[in-house]
Amino acid sequence: MNALLAAALPVFTEGPSEVSSVTREANWFLENAFIIPLLPAISFLLILFFGKRMPKKGAEFGIAAVGIAFVLALITGAAWLDHRDNFDGQLSESPATGIEPAHDDHADDGHADDGHEDEGHEDEGEDEHAIGVVADDGSTSSDEVALAVEAEGDGHGEEGHAYVAVQNSTQWLQSGGIEFSAGTLVDGLSVMMLFVVTLISLLVHIYSTDYVSGDRRYTHFFAFLSLFTASMLFFVLSDNILQMIVGWELVGVCSFALIGHWWEEKPNSDAALKAFLTNRVGDVGLLVGMITLFFAAGGGQTFDTLSITNTINQGGVSHTALVVAAAALMAAVMSKSGQFILHTWLPDAMAGPTPVSALIHAATMVVAGIYMVARLYPVFWEGMQIPGSSINLLATVGAVTLVGAGLLAFVQTDIKKVLAYSTVSQLGYMAMALGVGAWTAAVFHLFTHAFFKANLFLGSGSVAHAVHSFDMKKDMGGMRTFMPQTYKTFIIGSVALAGVFPLAGFWSKDEILVGTGGWGIFGGTGGPGSYTFHLTMGMIGAALTAAYMTRCVYLTFHGEYRGGDHGHDDDHAHAHDDAAHHGDPHESGPRILYPLYILSGFSILIGLVNLPPGFQLVPESWQERFLHFIEPAGASYFPAVGHATPSWSLAIISSLIAFGGAGLAYWYYFVKVDGLARSTGQKLTELPNGLVTTNAWARAGHKVLVEKYYLDHLYTGIIAGATKGPIARAANWTNTHLIDGVVNTAGETAVRTGRQVYDKIDQGLIEGFINGSGRVSDATGQELRRINSGKVQNYAAILFAGAAILAGAFIVILAL
C-alpha cells in the first residue's frame, strides 16, 4: 500500500514520474462507460431514420435510451464510489512517459501554501455515504493522504486509497507520428456529470412528450435531444482534449438546432445564429488554448487530458505557455458558459423550447465551460496564478458576471429571461469559485444548480404551457391558484436558488463564499488565497438572487391573473398553436409535474451531499462526501488545492444578506405593489418608478405609510428603485447597446468588411488588375494594328527601317 501510495503521488517519489493516478482496471462499468453516450447516439440514429414511423414519433427511443443511460450512470456512480474507496488494481503506465521529469522543487510548490489543517479529515472514514451507495471500507480521502504523508504519521496514510481515475482509451487515428486516441475517463467529476446529464435529460425527455406534443417537428426535437445528450456525455467522458473539442462543438451545434427549433420566425433563427457564432468566437480560444496545451504540455505527442494535467502539475510546462493557454481557454469558457461579455447569446437562446432551455441552457451545456476549467484545472491554477490571492481573470470575470447578470435579471419581463440571467449569474459564481481556487465548491454548485435551475425552467415552462406566454407582466400573475403544484415546485426551486438554508443552493453558495478565503472576521480563512473583492461580489450576488427571484415569483404566481383577456397573440408559446382553450389556465399534466416533483426533491436534498465540516448537526461521516468522492485531491493530475475552513458566521451573514434581499423585494412586491393593486383594483405589476411615485402614493391614500416608512421609501425609492431602475437599466442598456452592440457590430462589421474587401480588393484591385491587363493588351493590340496601314510602301519602309535599325543597333552595341 505504501508503494502504491508512493506511486500515486509522484511528488514524493524520486526520479521521473512514471506513474500517474490512472488505471485501466476497474469495475466493468467504469471501464466501459462509453456505452452511456453510445445509447443516446444510437437513439438519435433510430429517431432520424425510423422516428416518424413509430407510434410515439420517436420519443420512445429517446426516453428508453436515456433511461437506460441513467441507470447505467447510476451504476457507474456506485461503482465509482466503491472504486474510490477500494481501488486494488494496477496503475497504468503513465501516459506522460517521456515528458520531462517533475520539477525538483515541485513538492514545495504544491504544498507551500497549505492551510490544510481541516479538522474534519481525520475523522472521516466511515461507511456512510451521502449519496447512499455503500462502500465497504472506510478510507481516507486522498486529499488526506497527501496530508497524511506530509504530516507524517497521522495514522491513516497506510490504509489510504489513492484517488485513481479510470481511463480506457483506444487509438482513433494516427497521423504524422501522432496518435489520436479516443476513450473515456471516469473519475468523480465525470461520474457526477454523468448523473446530472442523464437524470435531467431523462426528466426533460419525459416532460417534453407533453410540452412539445403536437409540434410539427416533434420527432426532430427528440432526435436532437438524443444527439445533445450523446454529445454532452461524450464531452464529459472524454479522456483527451481533442475529444473535448469534439464534444464541445457537438453540443454547440445541438444547441443551435434546438434554439432555432422554431426557425420559421426570424428572431429564433437569429438567436440560434447568435448562440452559435458567439460560441465560435470562444472556440477560437478553445482551439488555440488546446493546441497550445497539446504542444506545451502534451509534448506535441498526446492529447491525453491526464498526462497533460500531470505534466503541468509537475511544473513541466513554461509559465508563459500556460498563461497563453489559460487566457485562450478563458475565451471559450466565457462564450460557452455565458461569462461577461460573451454572455449575451444565452438570454437570446431562450427562443428555444423551454425543455431545451432547462437541459441545455441551464443544467448541462452551459456548464461545459466550467467543467472544462475543472477538468483542466492545473492549467488555470498555474496559468492564472490562482494560489496566492492574485486577482485573476477567471475569478474577476466570474464576479463581474454574477453581479452584472443578477442586476439584469431584475428588469426582465420574460420569465425565461429572468432565469437565463440568473443562470448567467450562477455560472458567474462557478467561474469565480474556480478562480479563487474553490474547485469543489464550484463543481458542487454546478451540481446543485443543475437541479434547481432545471426545476425552475421546467416550472416556468409549465406556467407558459398554461398561459401560452412567457411574459410575466402581461400574461401571468396569480398563477398559484390555477397551478398549485407548479407553484410549490417553483417556490422550492426559487428558495434553493436564493440559497436559503437548508436547501441545495445554500450549501453550494456558502461553500463558494467560504472558498474566497473570506474575511478574517468571519473566521472563514484558509483557501488557496484571500479574495475580499470576490467575497463582496458574491454577497451582493446573493442578495440580488434572492430579490429577483422574489420578484419573479410575485409577478408570476401572485397578484391578479393578468392574462386571459386577450388571445394568445404572443410569439412565444409555439408549442401550443393548436391549443384552443381561452379560459383560465389550469394545472399541467403528470408528465410535466412529475419531473418537477423529482427536481424539487433534489433541490431540497441534494445540498446535503456535501455538508461542510464542522456542521455539528450530523455525524461527521456525512460531511464532505461530495468532496471526498469528486475532488481528485492527491491525484498527480490535480493541483494541491487548499480548502477554506467554513464558518458559521459567514454562513449566517450571507444568509441574512440573502434574506435581506428577498425581504426587500418581498416588501416591495407582496406588500406594496400587491396592496396597491388590491386597493386600486388595477392590475399593477410594479409601481411606477420610485422617485416619481410620490404623487401616486398620495392619490392612493398611503401617505401615512409612506411617511412612516420614510426609510423604507428611501430604500425602495432610491436604493431598490435605483437598483431596479437606473442601475439595472443602465446595465441593461450597456448590455443591449454596448455589449450586444459590440457583438452585433462585430457581425455587421464583418459583413461590411467582407463587402468592402470584395468590392474594393477583389472586384476592384485584383479583378481590376487582371481585367486591366487584358484591356491594356487589347488597346495595345489596337494601336499596333496601325502598323499595317495597308500601303505597301509603308510596309517597305518598315522593312528597310527594321533592317537598318537592327543593323545600326547591333553594329553599335557589338562595337562597344
Partner: protein, 499 residues
C-alpha cells in the same frame, strides 16, 4: 566539241542521282503537268489535281528510300546535302503540299480558275522548298528561295479579277522582292567577308575572327531580314495579313505553312551551318526578333475580326516561338534545332488543319469573319471539334500537338541555362496565355453561342477536305500524345557543318 571539253579542265562533278531523286521526281511530274496542259488544255483539268497528288506521293518514295538508306550524301562540294534533317523537312514539305492539294481540289475546281497551271506552279514551289532543305550554299539557297517564291507570287494573285487577290499578290511580290534584295545584299557581304559561298566555309572563315567586323554584322542582319520576311517575323510581317486575307485560301494555307517552313529551313541552314561560330551576333538578333514577334503578333491578333487575318497574326506569333530556340542555338545546337524542326512539323499539321476547317465553313458562310463561327457546334459538331483541336493545339494545350512543340522550344531555352534563355522562356509562357485568349474566343463563339439567324443547315464538306482535316487532326493529336515524335530530334546540322 569534245575537244573543247577536253581542253577545259572542267570535270562534271559526280552526281548522286538517288540523292537528287526527290527533286527530279517533282520536276518530272511538274513538267508532265505542264505538258498535259499544253497538250490537253481544258481536258486535263480533271486529271491535274490527281496528277499533282501523285507527284507528291511519288516524291515521297525516294525520300523514304533515302531515309531507309540512312547515309548522309553530299554533292557539289557540299552545296547540296541529304541528311536526316533535310529528309525530314523534304517529307514535311511534300506532305504539306499534298494536304494543300487536297484543300485546293474543290476550291480551285469550283472557282473557275486555271487548274493545270495552278498545280504546276504549286509543284514548282514545293520543288523549291525540297531543294531548300538540302541547300548548304548561298547560291543554292538563293535559287531555291526564288524557285519557291516566284510561283507563290503568282498563286497569291490567282483570283485574277479579284481586287483583293491582286493586292495580296502585289504586296507579297513587292515585299518579297525587297526582302530578297536586302538578303542578297547581305549574302554579298557574307561572301565578301569569307570568300566562299559554301556555308561550311563561311562558318570557318567567320569563326576564325575575333570580334565580328561591321561588314559581317551587316551581312548577317541583312540575310536574316530576308528570311525573317519569309517567316513573317515582326517587323517584317506586314505583308502576311494582307496577303493571307486576299489570296485564295488554299494558297494562304500553303504560304502560312510551307513557305514559312521553307524560310525557317533556309534560316536554320545558314544559322546552324554558316554562322555557328557567330552566335554572339545571331543569338541576340534572334532573341529580339522572337520576343518582338510573339508579343506583337499576339497583341494584334487579339483585335482581329477575320479569322484568316487572325491566323496570320497568330502565325507571326508562332514564328516568334519558332525563332526562340535560335536565340540559344549556340549553347544547345541539337536541342534548338530539334525544337524548331518539331515545331515546324506540328505547326504545319495544325495550321493546315485550321485552314481546312475554315475552307469547309466558308463553303456555307462564304465568309471568314469570326462572328460567322457562332453556333457552329450546333450544326457542324464534327467541324467544331476539329477546329477546336487545331485552335487549342495552336494555343499549346495538352494533349494536342501544339503543347509538345512549345515544350520543345521552352526546353531548349531552359536547357541553355542562361538568363536570356529563361527570360525568353517566360516570354513564351506569358504569350501563350495571351494567345489563348483569341483562340479560345473562337472556341467560345463556336460552342457557346447561338448560330446567327438560327440557321442550322448542315455544311457540305467534300471528301478531300474531310481527308485533309482527318490527316492533320490525327497528326496533331498523335504528336500531342507523344506517339510519333520519333527521330525528329536526331537531326543534326552541326555534324554537316563539321563544326
Amino acid at each position: 566539241m569534245s575537244a573543247l571539253l577536253a581542253a577545259s579542265d572542267f570535270v562534271r562533278p559526280p552526281i548522286d542521282w538517288h540523292a537528287a531523286a526527290p527533286e527530279l521526281t517533282l520536276l518530272a511530274f511538274g513538267a508532265l503537268l505542264t505538258m498535259m496542259d499544253i497538250g490537253w488544255l481544258e481536258r486535263g483539268r480533271k486529271a491535274s489535281s490527281v496528277l499533282a497528288s501523285l507527284a507528291l506521293l511519288a516524291t515521297m518514295v525516294p525520300i523514304i528510300t533515302l531515309a531507309a538508306d540512312g547515309n548522309d550524301r553530299t554533292m557539289f562540294g557540299g552545296a547540296f546535302v541529304v541528311d536526316n534533317y533535310s529528309l525530314i523537312m523534304k517529307a514535311m514539305f511534300v506532305l504539306a503540299g499534298y494536304v494543300v492539294v487536297l484543300l485546293s481540289t474543290n476550291y480551285i475546281a469550283e472557282g473557275d480558275y486555271w487548274e493545270n497551271e495552278y498545280y504546276g506552279l504549286l509543284l514548282s514551289s514545293i520543288l523549291g522548298m525540297v531543294l531548300m532543305a538540302s541547300a548548304r550554299d548561298l547560291i543554292t539557297i538563293f535559287v531555291a528561295l526564288e524557285l519557291l517564291s516566284i510561283p507563290a507570287y503568282m498563286l497569291a494573285t490567282w483570283r485574277k479579277r479579284d481586287l483583293k487577290s491582286n493586292e495580296a499578290g502585289m504586296k507579297y511580290y513587292l515585299m518579297g522582292v525587297f526582302a530578297s534584295a536586302v538578303m542578297l545584299y547581305g549574302m554579298s557581304l557574307l561572301y565578301g567577308s569569307s570568300g566562299s559561298t559554301l556555308l561550311a566555309d563561311i562558318n570557318v572563315a567567320l569563326s576564325a575572327a575575333g570580334d565580328p567586323s561591321s561588314v559581317v554584322v551587316l551581312g548577317i542582319i541583312f540575310v536574316t531580314v530576308g528570311f525573317a520576311f519569309k517567316v513573317s517575323a515582326f517587323p517584317f510581317h506586314t505583308w502576311a495579313p494582307d496577303t493571307y486575307e486576299g489570296a485564295p485560301t488554299p494558297v494562304t494555307a500553303f504560304l502560312s505553312v510551307a513557305s514559312k517552313a521553307a524560310g525557317f529551313v533556309a534560316l536554320m541552314n545558314i544559322v546552324f551551318v554558316g554562322l555557328l561560330g557567330r552566335d554572339d551576333v545571331v543569338e541576340p538578333l534572334m532573341w529580339v526578333l522572337a520576343a518582338a514577334s510573339m508579343t506583337v503578333g499576339n497583341l494584334i491578333a487579339l483585335r482581329q475580326t477575320n479569322i484568316v487575318r487572325m491566323l496570320a497574326y497568330s502565325g507571326v506569333a508562332q514564328a516568334g516561338y519558332m525563332l526562340a530556340p535560335l536565340a540559344v542555338y549556340g549553347d544547345v545546337p541539337e536541342t534548338a534545332l530539334g525544337a524548331v524542326v518539331t515545331y515546324l512539323v506540328i505547326y504545319a499539321a495544325m495550321n493546315l488543319g485550321a485552314f481546312a476547317v475554315i475552307m469547309a465553313v466558308a463553303r456555307k458562310t462564304r465568309s471568314a469573319e469570326i462572328s460567322d463561327y457562332r453556333g457552329l457546334f450546333h450544326y457542324a459538331p464534327g467541324l467544331t471539334v476539329a477546329m477546336t483541336i487545331f485552335l487549342f493545339s495552336l494555343a499549346g494545350i495538352p494533349p494536342l500537338g501544339g503543347w509538345f512543340a512549345k515544350f520543345r522550344v521552352v526546353e531548349a531555352l531552359i536547357d541553355a541555362n542562361n538568363a536570356s534563355g529563361v527570360v525568353l522562356g517566360i516570354f513564351v509562357a506569358v504569350n501563350s496565355v495571351i494567345a489563348l485568349y483569341y483562340y479560345a474566343r473562337i472556341g467560345l463563339a463556336m460552342w457557346g453561342e447561338e448560330a446567327p439567324d438560327g440557321d442550322l443547315s448542315k455544311v457540305d464538306v467534300p471528301v478531300s477536305l474531310v481527308a485533309a482535316i482527318g490527316i492533320t487532326a490525327i497528326v496533331t493529336i498523335a504528336f500531342g500524345l507523344g506517339l510519333v515524335v520519333g527521330d525528329f530530334t536526331d537531326v543534326s546540322l552541326v555534324a554537316a557543318s563539321g563544326g
